[in-house]
């Protein structure tokens, strides 16, 4: 049976964000593309289990996440990308953020535990609600919230981003400090 073109277009429309999720999880573009390809093959082989009108991105992200957890989680040395091959495989770097800052952020993200990293990406970048993220990860909403919070805290620590609202100097002092840093 041929695939409904509407369903096919929904799948294709999800691929860019699905791939971004995979790259963020794997830290390696080639492996991420393999993971996305495997996800698509599995999804299309079981397309009958998808109910039209429900959340296609969440369905595909769930399949990808489960594949990643079952097959890729143990390859931590590849996630760390110590020799920087991953950075070289990137086709482009964000222009609005300095390359050094981007690389530091990517390296810090790779140091997070996988469960925290995926929760942060799903909620903070992919745009899923906490409920959807919990369904994708197969855990409670409170667990996702906790993981996201821990991931942010850990990243702030790794990137030396101060939690100025809570512990830092007051607004006037921050303004002076910020001004001094630009000179």
């Amino acid at each position: 049976m041929k695939l409904d073109p509407a369903i096919r277009d929904q799948v294709l429309a999800t691929v860019p964000s699905l791939r971004a999720f995979a790259i963020s999880l794997c830290g390696n573009i080639d492996r991420a593309d393999d993971l996305v390809q495997e996800t698509l093959l599995r999804a299309l082989a079981h397309i009958d289990s998808f109910q039209p009108g429900t959340n296609m991105p969440a369905w595909l992200f769930t399949i990808l996440r489960n594949l990643f957890r079952s097959e890729y989680r143990k390859r931590r040395r590849e996630v760390e990308d110590a020799d920087g091959r991953y950075a070289d495989t990137l086709k482009s770097h964000p222009e609005q953020t300095g390359r050094v800052e981007f690389e530091e952020f990517r390296a810090a993200l790779a140091k997070l535990p996988a469960d925290q990293r995926e929760a942060l990406i799903l909620v903070g970048a992919s745009g899923f609600s906490y409920d959807d993220a919990a369904a994708i990860c197969g855990c409670a909403v409170g667990t996702i919230k906790s993981r996201v919070n821990r991931a942010r805290t850990r990243l702030a620590d790794l990137l030396s981003i101060d939690s100025v609202d809570d512990f830092g100097p007051d607004r006037a002092t921050r303004a002076v400090l910020a001004g001094g840093g630009r000179g």
Binding site: L3, R19, S92, N149, L155
Partner: protein, 73 residues
């Protein structure tokens, strides 16, 4: 200003409260909540990175794969 008890405060003299076993003492919540500016900065960096991947679009081989499978009877 509301005062908070910390584990640095002097131990209070014995009170009338029943003594609790160590395992029953409620420990302080370990999770730290980041300030809004820190959260905003991390969110900004995360979205910038993520969107750089999203903007690469659909690789040709994945596009071909989906269309080829979609055409199969």
């Amino acid at each position: 200003m509301k005062s908070r008890k910390t584990n640095l405060e002097a131990i209070e003299p014995a009170s009338e409260k029943p003594e609790l076993h160590n395992s029953m003492v409620r420990r302080p919540h370990k999770e730290i909540r980041l300030g809004r500016e820190a959260q905003h900065r991390i969110g900004e960096l995360l979205r910038t990175m993520y969107n750089s991947y999203v903007n690469e679009g659909v690789p040709q081989h994945l596009n071909d794969l989906v269309r080829r499978i979609g055409e199969q009877e």
